[in-house]
């Protein structure tokens, strides 16, 4: 059980624990060998060894050691650091990750979740064009340490969009993401919010014949909270919650956060329709 933290304490903790320095990393944790291409959470620490030769080792209180191979790509180094490593540090410190991109409006966070490629980042970029600032892209970190509130931590990742999403949203590209990801960094059209805020709603994106917003009620809220993103694996490795703890976690989200499904066809018209719906729902959101 994580003791209650203030939002400011949560931010300070993540800033402190994700400090990175270069050095050598071990090839095993707790006597368990970690081959290139694998990661391990053990003894409260995290070890990641990438196929490309990069290595990352997190020790609580000491931050992250990064081993960069000769000729290692700096962009790749940053991608791992902001992806798996950041998520692992968060999970080991009791934060809960959700595979979602989010915007902030009137001091609260509205997050959009769905499988990879479902359009989370594209929707957030589109909402930015309509004046709603980005809160995070791809990974939403939640602080559940206080029982009466769910606080979301602002994103640490830059917005990443495909060429198609850039064209669809009119967002401005700001350099390629790595060598062969097919994505570009993009400037959030309405800027981004850098302070922790309460999570107001979680919206599940899915494909449908026409843009449609459906508020979720009852047990469906609970059932929808099955998340198979890799960060969930990190959370389970780090916290090892039993079934009762997993139930309580889902129950909290289901009872303390508004939930809806946003269905829309995969087309430019479908995107425009879903933007209108999402913007209206966010601006008019009532508990």
């Amino acid at each position: 059980m994580t003791p209650p933290r203030t939002p400011a304490q949560a931010m300070a903790l993540m800033a402190r624990e994700t400090r990175a320095r270069h050095g050598t990393v071990p090839h095993e944790l707790d006597g368990i060998a970690v081959a290139p291409g694998f990661r391990l959470v053990a003894e409260g620490q995290f070890l990641l060894r990438c196929d490309s030769g990069f290595g990352y080792h997190y020790v609580p209180g000491e931050g992250v050691t990064v081993e960069r191979p000769v000729g290692g790509d700096l962009d790749e180094e940053a991608l791992w650091l902001n992806g798996s490593v950041y998520a692992a540090v968060a999970c080991l410190n009791g934060f809960y990750p959700v595979h979602a991109s989010a915007i902030a409006w009137q001091g609260r966070v509205h997050a959009f979740t769905g499988p990879t490629g479902e359009g989370k980042s594209t929707l957030v970029a589109g909402l930015g064009q309509r004046g709603l600032p980005m809160f995070c892209d791809d990974t939403l970190l939640l602080d559940l340490s206080a029982p009466d509130r769910i606080i979301a931590l602002p994103g640490h990742k830059r917005l990443k969009l495909t060429e198609q999403a850039l064209a669809l949203t009119g967002a401005t590209a700001d350099g390629a993401v790595g060598a062969d990801t097919g994505k570009s960094y993009a400037i959030p059209p309405a800027g981004d919010v850098r302070e922790p805020l309460p999570l107001a709603s979680l919206v599940f994106l899915e494909e449908g014949p026409q843009p449609k917003w459906t508020r979720l009620l009852g047990a469906e809220r609970f059932a929808r909270l099955a998340d198979d993103h890799y960060t969930q694996g990190l959370y389970h490795d780090a916290q090892r919650p039993d079934r009762a703890a997993q139930f309580q976690l889902r129950a909290r989200l289901a009872t303390q956060v508004g939930m809806a499904v946003l269905a829309r066809p995969r087309s430019a018209a479908g995107f425009a329709g879903s933007l209108e719906l999402a913007e209206a729902q966010v601006r008019e959101f009532v508990e």
Partner: protein, 92 residues
Amino acid sequence: MIALEQVPTKIAGRFSETTIDDEVVVMNLDSGDFFSLAGTARASWELIDGSRDTAAIIAALAGQYAASAEEISAEVRQFLDELEAAGLVRTA
């Protein structure tokens, strides 16, 4: 089928439950299966206290829903059987 004089009891430690809107979600902690209980199913679940026998549960539900005990008896007993089969309740 459970007899009218039998007393169903929730098996403590075998489940977790939470109320979401008008429904109660109950998870079997051994299997990970969860059940959504609404309406009469929720009312039945909430009447299982380890002291009421099946007849008393049926009578209470009949009062709540303005129905006769005969009308709802089979349905309630079947539901209690399902709870037992799901490992959430035992009968004595």
